[in-house]
């Protein structure tokens, strides 16, 4: 388990809480019933598993994560450079 894909809500349906979610041009109605404590809006990204939205996707966390990863190598390169001066 478990195949879950990010998709963007492009339309909301009221009852039961459904959304039309788009994944690079493919649209499917997705049940938003598991996110009713903090209902998502049009434009939000959600994680989809078996036709249900499991969680909101935080764009900020994703960016933070990529930023951490991108400087990973740079930090190391900087350290190596410093060591080079010291040896």
């Amino acid at each position: 388990m478990c195949l879950a894909i990010p998709g963007k809500i492009v339309e909301l349906v009221a009852d039961p809480p459904l959304g039309v979610v788009e994944v690079t041009g493919v649209r499917r109605r997705v049940d938003l019933g598991l996110l009713q404590d903090d209902p998502p809006q049009v434009g939000d990204w959600v994680l989809i598993h078996v036709g249900f939205a499991m969680s909101r996707i935080s764009e900020r966390e994703a960016e933070d994560q990529m930023r951490t990863l991108r400087i990973l190598g740079e930090d190391q390169a900087a350290m190596d450079e410093v060591r080079g001066y010291q040896s």
Binding site: M1, C2, D37, L47, H49, M66, G73
Partner: protein
């Protein structure tokens, strides 16, 4: 694809792999278990073992809900498909799993009404549009999938549907991890935690692993960069002598989990006193059963289910492979009697079973000779 492509960036993957090589002590051998079958699949599909140093060994865990389902449960489900009034629905993953009298797909080929659904919503929709038939949904999955089944049962009750029931095979992940740690053959340094299960249960349920077993666990996403970053985080913990629960998959996993999902599960399901796991034997409090209030949507109560127990062939070593004690290639049947074409166990059928993943994506890389396609079996 947003939230996917960034995490497959080859340049960043290269640098993260360098960091892993830098962190891994040359004299030390690291044994890390990825619990979730989806992670096993991702590791092979993205060729991640190729970028890891040879002293990091990834051990495949039992988090494959298809793999751990005993054959008897499939036979019980398929017995329902024999009834002319029943439309038997299941996820695609189940379709080739061998039962004693054939797989669901083979039953379909014989003319029985067996249909693939992508969602339990599709199954309940079939019930609404086919009032003269009874739709059985064969539910499988860990806590990732159980809330969707729960919501579907709540909807069935709200609508007073009379022709829909669920054959419930949902299992829970913590008892499986406990069984691994209790196993005397198992030596592990840390865990790559199941990212999507954790969107539901959060990260707290893993605290005993860090606190009592002193093993680090990093809850991980499924893209190559997620897995590699999780390995970096595990190595850093091991280097520092820490054993903590960490969340790598913060863009999606809330520490406290999904309360609405947990509420729906609690309303609809209770824990079975025990459940048989293929390869792991009977484990108590490890599987979900549908509560009495929902009995009329519980296929096991609507129909009388035989409760067949079928043992695996003695030569099949599914249990040891599931626990990570054996590698797929070490099972005597691997690649000979047991291949994706004629699977003996579910680990060879399920796309995330370690045997299927290894067979389909990996083992011919070493240039082992392919058995002739037309050779007799």
């Amino acid at each position: 694809m947003k939230f996917v492509d960034e995490f497959r960036d080859p340049e960043v993957i290269g640098r993260t792999a360098d960091e892993i090589r830098r962190l891994a002590h040359p004299g030390r051998h690291y044994r890390l278990m990825e619990v979730c079958g989806g992670h096993t699949h991702a590791i092979y599909r993205f060729g991640l073992k190729d970028v890891l140093p040879s002293n990091i060994e990834l051990i495949h865990g039992p988090g494959c809900p298809v793999c751990v389902l005993p054959m008897g449960r499939i036979d019980d489900g398929l017995a329902l498909a024999q009834r002319p009034d029943v439309i038997f629905t299941a996820f695609g993953d189940m379709m080739r799993v061998p039962g004693a009298h054939g797989s669901p797909l083979e039953h379909k080929a014989r003319g029985l009404d067996v249909r693939i659904v992508y969602s339990p919503s599709d199954a309940i929709k079939l019930a609404r549009t086919n009032p003269g038939r009874h739709v059985v949904f064969f539910a499988i999955g860990f806590e990732t999938t159980a809330p969707s089944t729960a919501l579907t049962l709540l909807r069935a009750r709200a609508e007073g549907l009379k022709n829909f029931s669920v054959f419930c095979n949902h299992v829970t992940i913590i008892p499986a991890i406990r069984a691994i740690l209790d196993s005397p053959d198992m030596r592990l340094d840390g865990f790559i935690g199941p990212g999507h299960v954790s969107t539901v249960i959060g990260c707290r349920p893993y605290e005993w692993i860090a606190r009592d077993e002193r093993k680090p666990i990093v809850v991980s996403g499924f893209e190559p960069l997620d897995l590699l970053q999780s390995i970096v985080m595990l190595l850093r913990q091991l280097e520092a002598g820490r054993a903590e629960v960490e969340n790598q998959y913060t863009r999606v996993v809330p520490w406290e989990g999904n309360r609405a999902a947990l509420r729906a599960m609690a309303e609809v399901f209770s824990l079975r006193p025990y459940f048989e796991w293929r390869g792991l034997g009977f484990i108590s409090q490890s599987a979900l059963r549908i509560r009495d209030e929902f009995a009329q949507w519980d296929a096991e109560r609507v129909f009388s289910v035989a409760g067949v127990r079928v043992t695996d062939p003695k030569a099949a070593q599914c249990g040891e492979v599931l626990k990570g004690v054996l590698k797929p290639v070490q099972c005597k049947l691997f690649g000979r009697e047991c291949t994706p074409e004629h699977p003996v166990g579910a680990l060879m059928v399920s796309s995330e079973g370690s045997c299927a993943a290894y067979y389909n994506y990996e083992h011919r890389k070493a240039n082992a000779p392919m058995p002739s396609l037309a050779a007799p079996v």
